[in-house]
């Protein structure tokens, strides 16, 4: 059983990393990775939302939608729930970490529309995960997102000093870098067997 849970984590963090392999959540990945400091807080917020979102979505799916034969309402209700969780996180953050709140700016409310955040609960529902599995899946996805975002930010900070040819500056080089990162993650293929 433990092994199974371990495999879920390994799988979501490395092998099927939501950003680099599943290509979900690219918006904050590109948007909030200019600075290491902000990327760390962003990843913490996202990981939090992912875990809580997965769990609440599971509960809604399990207790409300499936018994009532309302599976078709999944996407709608998940979005609503996630939006609620994000709003909550936002308020907590504004109160307790006001500077962070400002730094994250538009990307904090945008966690709502982060496809990773919706994607993970939907994948959970699709593969009929249990509550613990859903939580681990969400958590693992969050960790995977965090690792990749933080590393990406550290790379981009290094690139600040590089003399990149003009056409490649900014998002272009960031995308090239992301793709090579994705290439590196392909080495883990087959680890989750």
């Amino acid at each position: 059983m433990i092994q199974h849970y371990f495999l879920i984590i390994i799988s979501t963090v490395l092998v099927n990393n939501i950003v680099l392999v599943k290509i979900l959540g690219l918006c904050p990945f590109m948007g909030v990775s200019k600075k290491l400091e902000t990327s760390i807080s962003m990843s913490a917020a996202t990981a939090f939302v992912l875990t809580i979102g997965s769990m609440t979505s599971w509960a809604i799916n399990h207790y409300l939608l499936e018994p009532n034969d309302l599976v078709y309402l999944r996407t709608l209700s998940f979005i609503v729930v996630i939006a609620g969780v994000v709003q909550f996180t936002e308020m907590v953050m504004e109160k307790n970490f006001p500077l962070l709140y400002q730094l994250l700016g538009i990307f904090l409310p945008l966690i709502t529309t982060n496809c990773a955040v919706l994607g993970i609960p939907l994948l959970n529902a699709q593969s009929s995960h249990t509550l613990i599995e859903s939580a681990l899946f969400g958590f693992g996805g969050g960790i995977g997102f965090s690792i990749v975002l933080i590393l990406f930010a550290s790379l981009r900070e290094r690139l600040e000093g590089a003399e990149i040819p003009a056409p490649f500056r900014g998002s272009a080089i960031a995308l090239v870098t992301a793709s090579i990162m994705s290439l590196a993650f392909m080495g883990f293929a087959g680890l989750d067997r």
Binding site: L155, F168, I173, T177, A184, G187, F188, A189, L191
Partner: protein
């Protein structure tokens, strides 16, 4: 320039460093030719030509001076490392394409020498490996093991135009690498000692390949002695690989190959002395270098044993390249007078 102090310098130039690296590759290449024939020379030549032409073109487009940046030799190092990493009988366009990928996506989109985040040779190699898995895993068997003697001209023919020769000849010339072979055979539940009786295995690693690796080792030791590379990277990498393999091997010798086999086969030695020692994409602090070497060794071992690919060096190196800036910032050494 005015006001430039210090007025005196005493350092080998970048070119000298890079050409010493090339020089250190010579023994390995010589043994490669001895064991496998001239195919590798063709690949190296193709790669070198591609690099010089592409870099000149890119530098011209970027309006940078061409001569110093070609003469710095860094492009050639990348090209040679790639040529040594791919099978020596791969068709010519593989090495040309690979070199282009290295130089463009590994190096010049980042600004060229000194700015690349990833090891350029490994960028090219990894793209080739996932794009052409079959070609990239068909390795030539040593010439002395071939049933029909193959002329060196045939090797060149295969490289330049694979349709000239029949499929049988090619099949007779190539096989999986020992690492690959072990992996596939293990899934068929063969015990290791039986697997290793195949003729492609030598006394340490793969037959022929072990010789080449010894050549690389000699070159690597020369680089160490000449202080072109620091000891941290090769030592941490090789010892970690050795001891991880040792632990697994003593735990179950039937499924895990010996530590010496792991060190002497695949690209371990080339990786230890020539690939991870690329200063630009590796951490620069002494501690950071050790962490880097250890982590790559562990990843290489994990991918070799548990992963989907027979050899994990390229992925492990690229993966750790991602960590390099973070490792650097977390392993700053203690400054004089600081706590």
């Amino acid at each position: 320039m005015d006001n430039r102090s210090p007025y005196i310098v005493d350092a080998p130039s970048v070119s000298v460093i890079m050409f010493k690296v090339l020089l250190a590759l010579i023994p390995g290449i010589a043994l490669y030719v001895y064991a496998f024939g001239l195919g590798v020379i063709v690949n190296i030549t193709l790669a070198s030509l591609t690099v010089v032409l592409t870099e000149s073109a890119i530098l011209a487009i970027r309006k940078l001076p061409i001569k110093p940046f070609i003469l710095d030799g860094s492009g050639l190092v990348t090209a040679w490392l790639l040529a040594l990493s791919i099978p020596s009988i791969a068709p010519w366009w593989i090495i040309v394409l690979g070199t282009l990928l290295c130089i463009i996506f590994g190096k010049h989109v980042y600004g060229g020498l000194g700015y690349n985040l990833f090891n350029p040779a490994m960028v090219g190699y990894a793209i080739l490996l996932i794009s052409f898995p079959s070609i990239m895993t068909h390795w030539q068997i040593p010439t002395n093991l071939m049933e029909n003697h193959v002329e060196w001209l045939d090797q060149i023919k295969i490289i330049m135009n694979s349709h000239l020769l029949s499929k049988e000849t090619i099949d007779a010339m190539s096989s999986a690498t020992p690492l690959d072979y072990i992996k596939t055979q293990l899934t068929l539940n063969q015990p290791l000692n039986i697997i290793q009786q195949n003729k492609i295995f030598g006394f340490l690693g793969g037959s022929g390949l072990e010789l080449v690796n010894l050549g690389y080792l000699a070159g690597g030791l020369y680089l160490l002695k000449d202080k072109i590379i620091s000891w941290h990277l090769p030592v941490s990498f090789l010892t970690t690989l050795f001891f991880t393999a040792l632990i697994f091997n003593s735990f179950s010798p039937d499924t895990f190959a010996s530590p010496l086999f792991h060190v002497m086969s695949g690209g371990s030695i080339l990786c230890a002395f020539f690939i991870i020692t690329d200063p630009v994409s590796a951490p620069t602090t002494p501690k950071g270098k050790i962490y880097f070497g250890v982590a790559i060794a562990l990843l290489v071992f994990i991918i070799r044993i548990f992963g989907g690919y027979p050899e994990g060096i390229a992925f492990a190196v690229l993966f750790m390249n991602i960590f390099a800036p973070l490792i650097d910032s977390l392993t700053q050494p203690r400054i004089f007078g600081h706590k």
